[in-house]
Symmetry: C2
Subunit: 332 residues, 2 copies
Amino acid sequence: MRPARIAAGILIGAALAGALAPASSPAAALPSWNEGPSRRAIVEFVGRVTKPGGKDFVPPAERIAVFDNDGTLWSEQPFYFQFAFAIDRVRALAPQHPEWRDTEPFKSVLAGDIKGALAGGEKAVGAMMLATHTGMTTDEFSRTVQDWIGSAKHPRTQRLYTEMVYQPMLELLAYLRAQGFKTYIVSGGGVEFMRPWVERVYGIPPEQVVGSRGRLKFETRGDQPVLLKLPEIDLVDDGPGKPVGIQQVIGRRPIAAFGNSDGDQQMLEWTAGGTGARFCLLVRHTDGVRETAYDRTSSIGRLDKAWDEANARGWTVVDMKIEWKRLFPFEK
Amino acid sequence: MRPARIAAGILIGAALAGALAPASSPAAALPSWNEGPSRRAIVEFVGRVTKPGGKDFVPPAERIAVFDNDGTLWSEQPFYFQFAFAIDRVRALAPQHPEWRDTEPFKSVLAGDIKGALAGGEKAVGAMMLATHTGMTTDEFSRTVQDWIGSAKHPRTQRLYTEMVYQPMLELLAYLRAQGFKTYIVSGGGVEFMRPWVERVYGIPPEQVVGSRGRLKFETRGDQPVLLKLPEIDLVDDGPGKPVGIQQVIGRRPIAAFGNSDGDQQMLEWTAGGTGARFCLLVRHTDGVRETAYDRTSSIGRLDKAWDEANARGWTVVDMKIEWKRLFPFEK
């Protein structure tokens, strides 16, 4: 990028952060959000914390907003997309693992029987993750993810997984950044799985991604230093692990948090527990036509306890079916 | 900060990043560096990676620079300053721990015999760290650090520890930022020990600090969520742990790395191992008058293997005595 363009970009950013705060036209910034309680709540909060001299003013450096990924920024049905990646990797790696023909869950995966593979529960998923996410260097893994994410298709829509992102949330990310916020992903998904593509898709750079992670080991191969992905879990960035991940990586308490499931409950609690103005929002998957309707009994993205807490505490709950004009960017 | 000032600040930053790249006057940006091989090497590297259209141009987003802290940004003699904090905390907490009167290393610390306390080696230091750095919430610990760092004095100079920072390195941090770099600390010191004061002292925000860390546990006390500091180590961000910390928190490979000891060797190797222009620098503590001269045999900040590697690979090695006009900001 040429300096002139950088300077122009910074100028535009400054203009948006300064002159337009509070936003004069939320409809223009959030076109895929219907006028409704959630959009009003978002705009009202942003107006309060960005109003110079206001009692709730928050300096830009402290405007940290955290976003769950699966089910909040992109879809998570009919299964977590990272699980689809693991399945595809098992298939790709099978020739090097003749023993998988007789070993579950690999045997079922290779027979195309995903339900059979999942019958082994967490242990089966864990075995697939180990086999497909560890034992290589971080650079090798990153290239594998990049190749996959550039070509693999969603089973229902036949779209790239990176097209299965929520248009209203893309607008929200951009709106918050224009208002001086620093946007972070805080996901139960693997950090090394997200970093290769989130900048292109969400405008969020690698250093603003918090996720589950395995242990790494520094080694020298020939004269090349590498980081080896070890088969040991370092952080499960889900549920009570989310505030831990936030503190370890960001070291500041967010002022706004966005999620969709019980796995986000503690992240929202941690955010709400700070002093000053705070904003917590849950996305509810109510649209069985444009997507999948699910909440209290879903095995993926269950929204039960966090929903009760949101209602009790007055957190914003988005009804996707009613409040989102458009779900995915590819919709008319 | 008012938006007008923010916009002005951003404008100045943009002007520096744009109009002045490559730097027209390094002498003005780095006044405490004598004209010499290290300043020339720094300025030459920065000029190359910031030159629009040049073959070594690096986009601003990828201009990640990592700095060790102890011995690189601030002094580490006669002992790591975090160790001084631990000693002071043992003294402050002693009334609540009558058993310490008969238990080493606490007994020696309370008798003012630091050498005696250190006779117990790593185990003794570990016991002191556990007793003073765990068992409280992250917020409580942060307040304790803030109180201490605002009043504790260096034993030799009687200056605040935050005054024992290297003026040439403060200038280097500011110079790199003005040239579009994102500056990170990557230190063996505790991340929770550094975050409360590094923004004020170095201009580095909490989210750009990588350090050693203990495990954390999310809990609710009454209706307040807290993060409890557990007595378990999560990452020793030193030696081969530094590339691990960089990958976990930043997720990009730095293009420039600055250290002073063997604990920085793998960080420099990891930085040097990337493609494109790279810069690695070691600070050599050669000044026995203004500071302390130490290298191959020092128990603190030993510079031995990393020095040999720097010489073999042509990394920049700063001779503080010769190349730094001024060491500390308080010097005339």
